[in-house]
Structures are given as structure tokens and as C-alpha cells.
Amino acid sequence: MKKLINTPESVLEDALAGVAAAHPELTVDIPNRVITRAVRPAAPKVALISGGGSGHEPLHGGFVGPGMLDAACPGEIFTSPVPDQMLAAAKAADSGAGVVFIVKNYTGDVMNFELAAELAAEEGVEVRTVLVNDDVAVEDSTWTAGRRGTGATVLVEKTAGALAERGAPLDEVAALGERVNAASRSFAIALTAATVPAAGKPGFDLPEDEIEVGVGIHGEPGRRREKLRPARELAAEVVETILADHHLNPGDEVIALLNGLGGTPLLELYIVYGEVAARLAAHGITVARSLVGNYVTSLDMTGFSLTLTKADTQLLELWDAPVDTPALKRA
């Protein structure tokens, strides 16, 4: 497997050096692996911090900036960051108004952020945690670690970030994050597996003509495998799977995120999005806002995920609010 790397061991450091070089508006602490805004907010505000294993770029470092995150903690590839990173980020970003940790529901992430919250509390930083668990592919939460956090993370970070920027108090920002997560459902299909540089081979074997339906962002298995079908049928399947779990009615408005998993051309993502939009229209559901592109990736995995967030006036207004980050900009 060919990769644009120097050595498998230095992938994260080398990538962070590139982020630092490309984005003077960010401060990248490479040894401690913390990305913060170079310019601190003028007035005290609730600080939003997220993090997780690397390999999902632009999540989370690409969402640091005015209107979204205050800091991000990248872990090793597909491995949760450590509490020291989160504590360093919390101390760097806290302006006295408290900190919200936005955590994707994965066992390692949950534990490390939990330890970090304890450490931060000991140092006088008030922390709230918003757990994102939007992946409907996980059907039985009593037999598993629960639904995984995926595309809804972008919506939580954007809307909670906008609310925090306006000076909303800690509990309000955290509650908004939880509300957006509860209003969101996601589902993904992979055409090929991701290759972790250190492993050098795809994370799972998938025959040339088969797809993994309901895949997770580290290549976790989904609901089943089946033969590849036309984009129209796959889009329909994803929409129907989400609607079967999401209580949406004709006339409802949604924010739709059609997300690439890293290795799929934008051209194909738009093909899928067109089919998704048509299918939602057939259900009488209005897409009030859409976002198409690579936002929560899985290295070079090909495929897509769809996230539907039930919208209301407040969410749309927060979604439309200005944001200035490497991966998401809006005047």
C-alpha cells in the first residue's frame, strides 16, 4: 500500500507540523499534541474541546477556530488521546467560563475524557461532557458499547460552538450539544477498508464487489455485507435505515451531512447526495441545509456516511452563524 509518509512512526508529528505550517491562525503544540486557536477570544466564553484518534481529519483539529472549537486533542491513529492532552487543552482554553468536552462514544475516548474531567476539576476547571452517539448501525446497545459517535460530531461542534461564541453559560452550551446529538442519526457504507500506516494493509478484507453496510469510522463491522449496487439504491437504503430509527414526519426540516470517508471523490459524493435529497423529498422531508464533503473520515476508506439532524429555528440559526476554521468557513 503506497502512502505519502516519511515513516509510519512519525505520521502524527509530521502531519501536525504540516497543520502548523499551513495554519498560522492555529497554535499547534506538537510534543503535547494540542491544537488551540492562536488568538484567544477577547471576552470570557465557554471553551469547546474535542479530540479522538487521528485519521478522521479534518475532525477535530480542522474545526478549531472562531465559531467552533477552542482546542482539539489528536491521539495516535485510531487511538484515543490521553488525559494529559485534554487537561492541557482545558487549561489553555478555559477563560473561567468552563469547558465542554465533546466526546465520540468509543470506549477509549470515554474513559480518557472521564479521567481528564476528574483532573481538570481538581485544578478548578469546570467541565461538562457531551457524548455523541448517532450511529444507527449499532442496533443492540445492551450487547455492545453502545452507538458510536460519528457525523453528528460536526453538527454538535458547529452549533454548540456558535452558542458558546455568543457568551451562553456552560450548562446551556452543553445542553444544546446534547439536544443536537439527540436530534441526529447517521449511517455509513464502506466500499473499501482503511489502511493504518503502521499496519500497512487494509483493516478488514472486503471482496472487490462487496460493501460493508453500517461500517464504523475505524472499520468496525456494520450490519452486513452485500454486493455493490447503484448509488441510487445505496442512498435509498441509508435514508430508509435512518428514517426507521429517527422520528421524522412529512414537513419536518433537517440538516443533512453527506460525508465522505476519505477515499471517495467528491463527484461520487454529489451523486449520492442527489439521490439522498430526492429520497428525502419523496418522504416530504425538507433539507433546510446541506453539507457535502469529507469531514469525518476514516483515512483512505472509500464510502460515505449520511447524518440527518432534525432542524428547528434555533439550530438553523446556529448552523448559519459565522465560523472560521480550516475546514469550515462561513462569513
Binding site: V138, W143, A145, V196
Partner: protein, 208 residues
């Protein structure tokens, strides 16, 4: 024989050596039902522990294990870092100096409690707990019946091995393996395997 500072250091160094040696096997087990990084994560963590211990003048065996736990939490990430980190910190905090078999049994039990409190896994969930629980029970029983430290540690190591082996037919209910559902059946849990490795090294260093 009591569990004292040199023995605590020898244990941690032996774990580091065993993890280095067994890294490939742990990663292989993790590739089957997880994300294939258990061996490399523990190797990275215990290598950092050795560096941390090199500069340490420990106040007792507890301080050695507390430092081990703190370093694992700082360096490993994933689920194994916090779980093993919390366990070693709890063992260290509960350890008197020097500790006889009964005191060490209770300290090891405190480590299991810490793992269960953080990971919320029950026996049978196909996790570290499935090797650690029988190991503590065996250690306690041996200590209560007057066994020496090497005897108790050997009993615990055997029980941990059996516990790890017994995870093979289980269906994972915690961690990333849980997403495999039925497909996790037939594979030995990597976390239970590394726990068995840790108890085996304790038996080895007390008998040698």
C-alpha cells in the same frame, strides 16, 4: 518473602519485557476482534514506564506501582491505558510496605475494583475482568490458606490463564469487539490475555 520495593520494580520491568516479547501475539489477537493496536499500545506504555522508573527513588512498592499507573494513563491512550493505569494506581495506593501475600491480594483486588468502576464490565463480557477476577480470587484463597507469595502468585497466574482462555467462546459486550456481535465468538480476548501475562510475570519474578 514479602512484596517490597525491589520486587515491585522487578515486576514492572518483567511486564515491560513480556509485553515487548508478546507484542506480536497481542496485536494479532486484537486484529481479530479489535483494532490491532493492543500490543503496540502496551509496548509504548511500558517503555515509557521504564523511563519514568529510571529516575525514580520510590518511597515503597506502592510508589513504584502508582508511578507505573500514572505513566500508563499519560502515554497509552485507547481503553487499555486508562484501565491498566487506574488499576496500577489503585494497587499502589492500597499496598502497605512491605506487603505479605494477604496484603498483596487485597491490593490486587483494589486494582480490579478500579478497572470495573471505570470500564463497567461484568465477568463474562469478554474483557480484562475475565482474567483478573479469577486471578484475585485464587490469590486471596491461596493467601488465606497460608500460601507463600510465590505460591499465591502462581495460583493467580494459572487462574488468569484459564480465565483468558475461557473468553474464547464468549461474545464481547464491551469495547470495540462488541460491535462484532456473534463474530467475536471463537477469539481469545486480547485484554484478558495481557492481564494473564501480567499475573504470569508476577509468578515468574517471585519464584526466580
Amino acid at each position: 518473602m514479602d512484596f517490597d520495593t525491589p520486587l515491585a520494580e522487578a515486576w514492572v520491568r518483567a511486564i515491560a519485557a513480556a509485553v515487548e516479547k508478546e507484542q506480536g501475539r497481542l496485536t494479532e489477537l486484537d486484529s481479530a476482534i479489535g483494532d490491532g493496536d493492543h500490543g503496540s499500545n502496551l509496548q509504548r506504555g511500558f517503555a515509557a514506564v521504564l523511563t519514568a522508573l529510571d529516575g525514580l527513588q520510590p518511597a515503597g512498592p506502592g510508589a513504584v506501582l502508582t508511578k507505573t499507573g500514572t505513566t500508563l494513563i499519560s502515554k497509552v491512550g485507547g481503553a487499555s491505558g486508562p484501565l491498566y493505569g487506574k488499576a496500577f494506581r489503585a494497587i499502589g495506593a492500597a499496598l502497605p510496605e512491605p506487603a505479605g501475600p494477604a496484603a498483596l491480594a487485597e491490593a490486587l483486588a483494589a486494582g480490579l475494583d478500579a478497572i470495573r468502576a471505570l470500564g463497567k464490565a461484568e465477568p463474562g463480557d469478554k474483557t480484562i475482568v475475565d482474567a483478573y477476577t479469577p486471578a484475585v480470587a485464587a490469590f486471596r484463597t491461596a493467601a488465606a490458606t497460608g500460601a507463600t507469595l510465590p505460591e499465591a502468585a502462581a495460583a493467580a497466574a494459572d487462574a488468569a490463564d484459564q480465565g483468558a482462555h475461557a473468553t474464547i467462546p464468549l461474545r464481547a459486550r464491551k469495547g470495540r469487539a462488541s460491535y462484532l456481535g456473534e463474530r467475536s465468538i471463537g477469539h481469545q480476548d486480547p485484554g484478558a490475555t495481557s492481564t494473564a501475562l501480567i499475573f504470569r510475570t508476577l509468578a515468574d519474578i517471585t519464584t526466580s
